[in-house]
Amino acid sequence: MSIHLILFLFFGVAAVAGAVNLLAQSHPINSALSLIAVMAALAGEFLLLGAEFVAAIQVIVYAGAIMVLFVFVIMLLNAGVEERTKGSKVAIMFGIPGMLIGSVLVAWAVLHSYGNQQVFASVLEGTPSKIAMLLFHEFLLPFEVTSILILIAIMGAVVLASKPHAVQKRKEH
């Protein structure tokens, strides 16, 4: 067993354990913390695949910025333990077997068709300079469009999250 495979298994098991824990926990803050664990483990997988830049922004943007937003909202709304209802029991009854069947089918199909192809470690180096060359030449237009998307998202979030009477006051002015 190569060191690459051992590291892959380590991060993979950590990611799957975090994902299962996300499902098992009933308090949203515990789910959020296990999602952070999944994202950190996935950053390790990205490093194994030679994607340095993606691993860095995975930690900074996903595990950092987005999850902080989640934790803030959970604390702001004082979210408690979720209640079990009749609907959720039915969903568990159909959801978990469905997930198992689905993932076994996909795993079987993937192993069947890609069984012998190997991924070589660090052959492809996703360093920031190489990503930037692509991003600012080939993908310049999509990159600029995402800046507009982010601007719209910021304005939408401010409008949606501001208090209703605050919006009213702005209209009166």
């Binding site: 892959f8 999602l35 997988e45 702001l76 979720e82 192809q117 939408g156 949606l160």
Partner: protein
């Protein structure tokens, strides 16, 4: 060396966990976190295929997926705050009417 199929299977398992969370969870914030989990699973297969075919554009696409996820998180969480203000609950079973 790790076969490409292992990465794809891991990505499929994470995606399936995300779908299951989306189906079985009743808290709207946890449902939202399951969507993020699905996006992460897809990102892993993007990076794995990029390494397989020596195409860096796969990693650039992961960057775009992350941008969209960030925008989605910002707007979605604002919507959740608005829902909580209007109904004082986060349980999706109780949010079943468009109009109050």
């Amino acid at each position: 060396m790790v076969p490409l199929s292992y990465y794809l299977v891991l990505s499929a398992i994470l995606f399936a966990c995300g779908v299951t969370g989306f189906l079985i969870k009743r808290n709207i914030i946890t449902i939202f976190m399951s969507i993020e989990l699905m996006l992460n699973g897809v990102n892993l297969s993007f990076v794995a295929f990029a390494a397989q075919w020596h195409a860096l554009s796969g990693q650039v696409f992961v960057f775009f997926v992350m941008v969209v996820a960030a925008a989605e998180a910002a707007v979605g969480l604002a919507v959740i705050i608005a829902i909580y203000r209007a109904r004082e609950t986060l349980n999706v079973d109780q949010v079943n009417l468009l109009k109050l």
